[in-house]
Amino acid sequence: MRPVAVVGAGMTPFAEHFDLGMKDLLPRAVGEALASVEKGIDRSELQAAWFGELTTSDGFPSGLLADSCGLLDIPVTRVENACATGNDAVRNAFFAVASGYIDVALVVGADKVRETSARSTFWDWMAMTRDMAWDYPLGLVAPANFALHAARYLHESPATREHMAMVAVKNHHNAVTNPKAHLRFEITVEQVLNAPTVVAPFGLYDCTPQSDGAAALVLAAADVADRYTSTPVWVRGVGLGLDRVMHQHKRDMTTFPATVKAAKQAFAMAGLGPQDMSVAEVHDCFSAVELISYEDLGFCERFGAAKLVEAGETTLTGRLPVNPSGGLKAKGHPPGATGVAQCVEIAEQLWGRAANQVDGARHGLAHNIGGPTAVSAVTVLSTEQS
C-alpha cells in the first residue's frame, strides 16, 4: 500500500438545517473541501467517491451525491456502518487510493436527522438497529442503548455523574468558539446535574443534539499529493472493530470491545500509540461514552477516566485535548457526517488552522462507536508520512 494524504477538508455547520435538504448540504460541504485545497483542484480530478449516510434522506444516496455535486462520471459508493459510518467511509476511500486503484478520492458524510420529527427518530433508528422480535418492542431508545453501559460503568468504576458532567462542560466550552458547532453555549456542572432526565443516568446535557450536516475530505496518493498541497496530512492508520450486537451478549458492559479492536488496528498500521496523540476527536454521543472511550483507546488505564477528567488533561490546554471541536455533544451529530467531520477537525488541527488550535499538533485520532454499541471506526492522521 502507498501513503495517502488528506489534501482538502470542509464541512457545513452542524445545526437543525430545516431550510436545507440533502441536495443543498452535499454540494456545500464538497465545495468547501475542494476550495480548501491549497494549490487548487478541479472536481474533474476526483476519480471516485465514498458517501457515508446512515439514514436515507431524499432518496438513493450515491445518486444524490453524484447528481447534486456534479460528479456523474465517477463511481460513488454508499457506506453505512451505523454511527461509525463516517470514519468507515474514510477507511474505504483510503484503501482505494492506497491500493493504487485511483489517485484522488472524495469522501463525504452527511445525514439529516431533523428531516423527521424529534420523537419519531427513536423508532426509525430502533428499526435499523434492533432485533425485531426480541429487542425492538422493548423501546430500547438510543440513549438507553448507551445508558445501559453507563449505569454499569458508574457502578464499577470510580466515575460519577459529576465526571460525566465535566465532559459535557468541556465540550460545550470548546463549541463556543467553533463557528461550525450546533450548541455554542457554556454550561456548568450544576446545570448538567440538574437538567431533566432523558434516560437515567443521562440528563439532557449528557446527550448529543439531533443535528443535520455534511462534511467532506479530499484524499490523494503520495505520488500526486504535491500537486495539491505543500502540507499533506497523512492517513497513517485506519481500523474497524465489531462486537456482539445484542446487549445481552456483551459480557463486560464497562468497555466497548469494538473500539479496542478498531484502535489496535489503526495504531498498528500507523506505527503509533495512544501516547503519541496530540489531539483526538472521540465519540461522545453521551457524556459517559467519552469516559469509557478514553480507556478503550488507551488514553488512560481501565477505570482511569475519572482521574483524567479531574486533572483536566483532556481540556484544550491539557496534555491530550479531546474534542476541541465540541465533539458530538456540542458540535453535533449527523451520524454519517460525524466521523468525516472529526477527520476535518483533526486535519485542520494538523494544518494549524483549527478554530480551537492545539499548539504543535502532530498526530491526531478520530473515533466513532455506534449502532447497538457494536461497531467502531478509528482513523489516525499525522503531519508525518512515517
Partner: protein, 392 residues
C-alpha cells in the same frame, strides 16, 4: 359428575386497592391466567395436564392465537387441548364441577376486579359436586361484540327476580356459605357470612374455594349454579400488598411495526422462556441462534428452559417521551440463575427507577407491546420486593 381438584391457586396483581385490584399495563387475562395456572401446576406436580380451559369475559383478543399464547406461557406442549370459554363465575364453577382428571381450569378477570384462579383436576383432593344450576335471562348488563356496554339500572330487579329466585329454584339442602359473582353487599343478601372476594367474574369461585367455602353459589346476572366442596387440596395464593399504579405519561399514539415472520420464529423461545443449548459445548443462548456463542458449533440447538430467578446486571430508566410507550419505564439486563445467560427486559411490578444493579427477582410472563394490533408477549423482571410481599 364430580370434579376432584389436586390443587387450587389464586393470583392478584400488585396494583390497585387492597380489595379491588387493577391489571398493570403489561397484564391482561392471559398473563393473569398464566400466573395462576403455573402456580396450580406447581402445587400438583404429579398431575399431567391434558387440557386447559380458560374461562373469562376479558379475552384480550377474540381472534389471533390466545390459546397458543396460553399454552406457551404455561409451558405446556402445543398438542394440549385448550379452550377459551366465554363466561363468568357460573361458567367457571360449572367447569370445576365437570373437570376430568388432567384438566387445568383457569378463571381470569380484568374489568371488575383483576385477578385469576386456577385448579388442576386430578384423581382425588378437593371434590366439587354440582348441586344444580339455572340459566335465566335478565340482561341488566349488556356488553355487545364490539365491547359497547349498556346497563339497565335496576339492582333490586336483578337481585329479586334473578339471583334470589334462581337460588330458590335450586332448592339447596344446605345454605350457601359463599357467593361468587356478586359484590360484597349483594352477596350478604344471599349468605350472611359470605367472605369478601376480590373479583366478581370467572376467577371468583377460586377465591371462594380458597376462603374455605363448603357450599358455593356462583352468580352471573340471573344465571346461578351451586356446588358442594368436600375434602382438601394444596392451595397457593399470590396476594401481594396492593400499591397504586405509578403515574406515567402515555406516549403519543403510534402504530409500532411488527415483522410477523420474526414473531413466529421467536414464539416458542420467547413465550416459553427457553434458551438454545449448544449440543457440542452446552452453552446456552438467549435468543436461540444457529451458531454457538462460545464454540461456534452449527449442528442445531435445542430449546431448554431457563431459570426464572435473576440478578440485575445493569438497569436504566427512560424518562424522555417515547411514542407508543408510557414513560417512565425501566429496562434491565438480568443475569439468570447461575447460567450466565442474560435477558434484556422491562422491569415490572415496581415503580420505574426503583430497581438497582445487584437486585434479585424473578422473570414473569407479561405483555411486552401491542404492535399493529398484535399482542406481543414475553417476560419482564419483577424485583424480589414484590415476590417477598407475595409470600407474606
Amino acid at each position: 359428575m364430580t370434579g376432584h381438584l389436586a390443587s387450587v391457586a389464586t393470583h392478584l396483581p400488585v396494583w390497585g386497592a387492597q380489595e379491588a385490584r387493577v391489571a398493570g399495563p403489561d397484564e391482561d387475562a392471559l398473563t393473569l391466567a398464566v400466573a395462576a395456572g403455573r402456580a396450580a401446576m406447581a402445587a400438583a406436580p404429579d398431575v399431567r395436564v391434558e387440557r386447559v380451559v380458560l374461562v373469562t369475559r376479558d379475552l384480550p383478543v377474540l381472534e389471533g392465537g390466545s390459546t397458543a399464547v396460553l399454552l406457551a406461557g404455561l409451558d405446556l406442549p402445543p398438542a394440549t387441548l385448550a379452550s377459551e370459554v366465554l363466561g363468568g363465575a357460573v361458567a367457571a364453577l360449572d367447569q370445576l364441577g365437570d373437570a376430568r382428571p388432567g384438566t387445568l381450569v383457569i378463571g381470569a378477570d380484568v374489568t371488575f376486579g383483576a385477578g385469576a384462579g386456577a385448579a388442576l383436576a386430578g384423581a382425588g383432593g378437593l371434590a366439587v359436586t354440582p348441586l344444580g344450576r339455572r340459566d335465566a335471562s335478565l340482561p341488566t348488563h349488556v356488553r355487545d361484540a364490539g365491547g359497547v356496554v349498556t346497563d339497565y339500572d335496576d339492582a333490586r330487579l336483578l337481585r329479586d327476580r334473578g339471583v334470589l329466585a334462581g337460588i330458590a329454584a335450586l332448592a339447596l339442602t344446605d345454605a350457601p356459605d359463599a357467593v361468587a359473582g356478586l359484590a360484597r353487599k349483594d352477596a350478604a343478601a344471599v349468605a350472611k357470612a359470605a367472605p369478601a372476594l376480590p373479583t366478581t367474574g370467572a376467577s371468583a369461585p377460586f377465591f371462594a374455594i380458597a376462603a374455605g367455602s363448603r357450599v358455593l353459589v356462583a352468580v352471573d346476572q340471573a344465571a346461578v349454579s351451586a356446588a358442594s366442596l368436600t375434602g382438601a387440596a394444596p392451595f397457593v395464593a399470590h396476594a401481594p400488598s396492593a400499591r397504586p399504579l405509578p403515574k406515567r405519561k402515555p406516549g403519543a399514539p403510534v402504530d409500532l411495526a411488527i415483522a410477523l415472520p420474526a414473531y413466529e420464529r421467536a414464539f416458542s423461545a420467547k413465550l416459553g422462556f427457553k434458551a438454545g443449548r449448544c449440543p457440542a459445548c452446552g452453552t446456552l443462548a438467549l435468543p436461540p441462534r444457529h451458531r454457538c456463542l462460545e464454540c461456534g458449533d452449527e449442528s442445531g440447538q435445542e430449546l431448554t428452559a431457563l431459570p426464572r430467578d435473576g440478578e440485575v446486571y445493569t438497569v436504566v430508566t427512560i424518562h424522555v417521551p417515547v411514542p407508543g410507550l408510557a414513560t417512565p419505564y425501566s429496562l434491565a439486563i438480568v443475569e439468570l440463575g447461575d447460567t450466565g445467560v442474560r435477558a434484556l427486559v422491562h422491569v415490572t411490578d415496581d415503580e420505574p427507577g426503583a430497581v438497582a444493579i445487584g437486585d434479585r427477582g424473578e422473570m414473569l410472563f407479561r405483555l411486552v407491546a401491542v404492535r399493529s394490533g398484535v399482542r406481543d408477549y414475553g417476560y419482564a423482571f419483577a424485583p424480589a420486593r414484590a415476590a417477598a410481599e407475595a409470600a407474606a
